[in-house]
Amino acid sequence: MDQELRRTPFYDHHVAAGARIVPFAGFGMPVQYSGVQEEHLATRSACGLFDVSHMGEVRVRGPKAEDALMWLLSNAIRRLAVGQAQYNAMCTPEGGVVDDVFVYREGAEDFLVCVNAANRAKDFQWMIDNNPEGAEIIDEGDQWAQLAIQGPKAVEVVRALAPAEVPDLGRHRFVRGPFAGIDGCLIARTGYTGEDGFEVFLPAATAVPAWSAILEAGAPHGLLPVGLGARDTLRLEAGNCLYGHELDATTSPLAAGLGWITKVKKPGGFIGCDAIVARRDAGAERVLVGFRVDGKRIARQGMAVLVGGTAVGEVTSGTRGPSVGVAVGMAYVDRAHAEIGTELTIDVRGREATAHVVKMPFV
């Protein structure tokens, strides 16, 4: 029997707007409103509003919070200033990825970790189970709603809705304050679309009016509500990994191109660090590449990548990119075939499509 789908605080607004609702990570989420391509292009040219309240939040605090996160996560948490956010991988002892997360440092001993919707329960348990320092770890997933406002006009949209310093926030900086009339928000200059923009955590209990207020403030700037469909095409064009596609318990963050957040030399190491280094040094791992398909066929997750008739990899994500206008995607391929310009063949349901390795992002 189907389990009842959870709803975000903005669910009724999505239904009223005519969104198509699909199950995603246990939530009924809007996959599209007016259409994936229109929403995608509006985000690139103007602004999009995304309900991402299904994402999870975990509070880590106390005197041991920093040490606990240094051990749990791959990036240099200690270098994170209060009011700064940082991308991290949470890894297994075997060097695979439990999840990719964003960490917001709210105080010397206070962090908010934003985790993928599908991994909420798993991540929380993982953090509890791997907390030798004894930090306080609290699941705040149900306390927060989350909206993303993304696109070149996002800064103009938030100007009317947020404290005066918000439009001047640097990339990956955040403040606490009221947003769209809702008190106690966390407003960050972060995003997943490859555009400038903001992600706002709002107290779930009081968040509902923010949706209409943002739509109203955004209307003169061309803001549209955007569903999960365009969120995926936007992140793919931007070359951003998605857990369950480019990242999972078998993929090393280095193979996924996340060396920039994987500080293998940090003092004390982190869970999975030794295995990640060993896997890198063995040199046998497939690496993530971006590709562009010649012709009009679309490569999808799971399709085989061939060179000279031999399987050399597998597609992890693929779509027709509305901004690039062609079929693009990402694939893990043997290192020998990862150079920019390498010709690949992709088995698209029994028919061969030619593709070339290209640099990411695609836009």
């Binding site: 198509r20 259409g35 994936v36 391509q37 009009k296 679309i298 779509t319 027709r320």
Partner: protein, 122 residues
């Protein structure tokens, strides 16, 4: 939901127009709505021989791909090449944007009329 009464429909949401021994096949309004924006149509080759139930072509949207099956055995005698450049016509006009025509000696069977199809997808 637009379901013209002069067409036949399949369980896979194809529509079929029967004109003598030639059948024209497309996807229904319901199917295009479910798929979302169509970005690519992979048509069969004119002259290819298909058996009833074969996947004749593919209709691909941003998020998904659907195979379109031929309801009868026969030879593909025409394809709607305009869709190669304008696949969105399948969304805009699903009953005008036919996919392929097949010449057959089979008698069409097992399809639904508009009333039955409306009951299925309604």
């Amino acid at each position: 939901m637009n379901i013209p009464s002069d067409l036949q429909y399949t369980d896979h949401d194809e529509w079929i127009r029967v004109e003598g021994t030639t059948l024209t096949v497309g996807v229904s309004d319901f199917a295009q709505d479910q798929l979302g924006e169509i970005v690519h149509v992979e048509l069969p080759e004119v002259g290819s021989t298909l058996a009833a139930g074969d996947a004749a072509c593919e209709v691909e949207s941003v998020k998904a791909v659907a195979e379109v099956y031929t309801p009868v055995s026969g030879t593909v005698v025409a394809v709607n090449e305009a869709l190669e450049d304008e696949p969105e016509k399948v969304n805009e006009d699903p009953y005008g944007a036919w996919l392929f025509r097949i010449e057959t000696t089979d008698t069409l069977s097992g399809t639904l009329d508009a009333t039955a199809y409306a009951a299925k997808v309604g």
